[in-house]
Amino acid sequence: MIPVGLVLTGISLFPQGIAVADRPSAGAPVRSTLPFHATFTDVAAQAGITAKFVQGNPANRRYIVEANGTGVALVDIDNDGLLDAFLVNGSTFAKSPLPPTNHLYRNAGGGRFQDVTKASGTGRSGWGNGVCAGDFDNDGFTDLYVTYWGRNSLFRNTGKASFVDVAEAAGVAGSGTDWSTGCTFTDFDRDGLLDLFVVTYAGFDLKSTPLPGQLPTCKYRDKPVFCGPRGLPFGRAFLYRNKGGGKFEDVSIASGIRKPQGFYGFTAVAADFNGDGWQDIYVASDSTPSLLFRNNGNGTFSEVATESGIAFNENGTEQAGMGLAAGDANGDGTLDIVKTNFIRDYPNLYSNLGKGFFEDRAVIAGLAVNPQYLLWGAGLEDFDNDGLRDIFLTSGHVYAGDPAEPWATSRLLYRQLPGGKFEDVSAMAGAGVTERQSSRGAAFGDFDSDGDIDVLIMNMDRAPSLLRNDLKSSNHWLRVQLQGVVSNRSGIGAVVSVEAGGRTQTSVVLSQSSYLSVNDLGLHFGLGFTDRVDRVVVRWPNGKAEAFSGIQVDRPVLLKEGSSQ
């Protein structure tokens, strides 16, 4: 029986809290019949990574803060050449004597991790969201910034297997009431010190946020759900300039970063997207236009996402942007962007046409064939080392209880074929990919140092997945780790081009990407049959290029700024 009072709303749109593009599958699925040699197995439990993620009340999520999940990081914390795992945890409104905390797992080698949370000093509790990495004090050890609904943390790496939260002293803790999500270290003024960009998701507090169903923005497809993001006060962006000596100053207003209004910010990536030698910042925004802060090279930024073609989808519709991957997808030397979106939509593949103009090529590339997935984490990596970057995506719904739109869904893996099309090879890539979870953040890196890219994934209400890539292939590879001298020590923002076998591959060192997560700061390049690298060109964040030669394949290489012959 139809409730008569509701029949005549006379509206043509869902009055709901989230932007849904309602797009059907588009374009023909790509079918190559070629084998795919990378298979993924979840080895988290056997590796000892067992901490459970907590995100509110799984039985009844009444607030949006309980649904968005968190990021993870695969970074080498102790400079032993092995990637360690950092998990940002959420919280719960229920009182607990042992509230959930972040977790840091040290890679002990041999596929085993050791929980060093307590000793490391990173085990803060609270509503954590995202993480970004970089050596902000240029002491040779990677530091971590963690965003919260509440005060943010800057965990300075002491180099002695421990961290100290220096956020307050450094001036980057935030107001204590903001809901910060995306963050990225970036040297926007090219002074060799990593500055810090932080974006908040929404103005949010329990007192003023209505309960499920109370407002039109507290509904999804006419059913009551937690409210937002639409209807909540918008987020804000912050830029902190690193003054040195462990101090930052808030330059959000002077730099123009604060000027754009009307967004719900998630993942942030910083890189030189228009090739002018200055670091820009792109933010995936939920149900609002995404933001591209173009660095004007004079301490100011202009927001140009709409003009650049990466604020909306190709129809001009706002999307629920979540995660980001950046790198050269098509081998033309420019940085392209993959953005994940809500269900009934597909990811964007923003192809950089040069000078920072973008065109969404998701449909033609074969990425618009799975709109039934709500996507979060994204990796633009070469998982089978064939020299072409593939795309790995994590998925999972924010609302539970509708069998037509399940809470837990599998991951998606698209391999790139020659010609730039992507083929869905999820079903061929092992149980780690087909495993159903409601996942959010994902970090990409070679944790077992066997020459292929593995994946660490945040799962809602569960322990993480650690997907070990068991690549059966003789393809060659190279991992490039940078060490800045004039530039920031981590090389954040540096663009690396590997010339081998007549082709050039390009990637960029990112402080944050995927979904609120951190990939290995070393860059992985698959080389296919090519067993010789002609040269590696590094465009450092200060704008200068440096060419390195004599580099061997199938191993990690450390390139120090100014050391080329």
Binding site: T9, D22, E307
Partner: protein, 342 residues
């Protein structure tokens, strides 16, 4: 009572007679007399069904909807099982933009004549407007079962399934309709659309082609074909299709945007700019041409103009948010034009 008054009462016609006389006057288009006689009849017998119904129907026919409501309400109160009274009262309330009340009376009418295809079709349309898409689809298919030769009913049922996001069912209906109406270009379009949507472009494109060859062409097949070509990178074909869509319906903004995006993809920025400027002259309040203009000017290095267009687009989006939000079912506006007769 005086004897004179009594005599007058005895001489006065009874209400039923007055009502009959009123009907005769109405049939002779003497509406003032008809109105006076019905009112006299109702003064004597306020619940007289014939007088209430016919007076209300006369008002409704003459466009005086507000006046029609009360006698029709009295009519359905005295004879709730009268199909026509319930149906016409529903129509009056619908035209008064009180669709929830209208639906109530249409449902009562439908219960009296469950197989009345016309009413079922109306209910399907109204359910769709209220976003009860599955109910709309069920009602439409019920109507179809009683009148399978009615092409408009097939299209109503297909649209209802599309709106309900039940595209496999919409595809099945479209296949049946295309088989039942082989020369109907709208059926060909719906089948082509659903096949392409299902990722079966190779099968769908010939049906779209058939729809585009209709002797009474309309813009939708050309737009959808162009959009498919643009997504596949077949820019020349996309361009031609969008241009043809615009020849057929100049104010069809999705086709302007599609043509501009095709030209941008082809690197023809000046032409894209000219097309978009023309689009703004067709509809000055639509945000999309301005959004695309901001991108074209940015690429042309005219950053100030790019910012102006961005801001204009943003303002217009706030004023008309529906223009750049997708709607369920087809993610582009449907044509309001009737399907071509066949």
């Amino acid at each position: 009572m005086t004897s004179a008054v009594l005599a007058l009462l005895l001489l006065a016609p009874d209400p039923a007679t007055l009502s009959r006389q009123a009907l005769e006057s109405a049939q002779q288009k003497d509406f003032p007399t008809a109105e006076r006689l019905w009112k006299e009849a109702l003064a004597a017998s306020p619940g007289l069904f014939e007088a209430n119904f016919n007076l209300g129907y006369m008002y409704q026919s003459r466009g005086d909807l507000a006046a029609a409501e009360m006698p029709l309400r009295r009519a359905v109160r005295s004879q709730p099982n009268d199909f026509n009274a319930q149906y016409i009262l529903g129509a009056v309330l619908s035209k008064l933009n009180r669709t929830d009340e209208a639906l109530k009376h249409w449902r009562l009418a439908s219960a009296l004549r469950p197989d009345d295809a016309r009413l079922l079709q109306i209910l399907a349309v109204e359910y769709s407007k209220g976003r009860y898409f599955r109910d709309a689809a069920q009602v439409a298919e019920k109507a179809l079962a009683s009148k399978p030769g009615d092409a408009a009913l097939w299209l109503t049922a297909i649209k209802a399934r599309q709106d309900a996001d039940e595209h496999p069912l919409a595809l099945r209906l479209a296949e049946k309709m295309a088989a039942a109406f082989p020369g109907n270009s709208r059926a060909a379009f719906e089948l082509g659309y659903e096949l392409v949507r299902a990722g079966r472009a190779a099968e769908g494109l010939p049906w779209l082609d058939r729809a585009m060859r209709s002797p009474t062409p309309w813009e939708e097949p050309f737009y959808f074909f162009g959009d498919t070509m643009l997504k596949e990178g077949r820019l020349d074909e996309a361009k031609r299709a969008f241009q043809r869509a615009l020849e057929l319906r100049r104010e069809y903004m999705p086709a302007w945007a599609g043509l501009a995006r095709t030209l941008m993809s082809a690197g023809e920025l000046e032409r894209a700019r000219d097309v978009l400027l023309e689009a703004t002259s067709v509809d000055a309040t639509h945000p999309q041409p301005h959004l695309l203009l901001s991108q074209v000017y940015f690429r042309l290095g005219q950053e100030d103009r790019a910012v102006e267009e961005k801001e204009m687009s943003s303002r217009l989006r706030r004023a008309r948010p529906e223009t750049l939000e997708s709607i369920p079912g087809r993610n582009f506006p449907r044509s309001d034009a009737a399907p071509p007769a066949k």
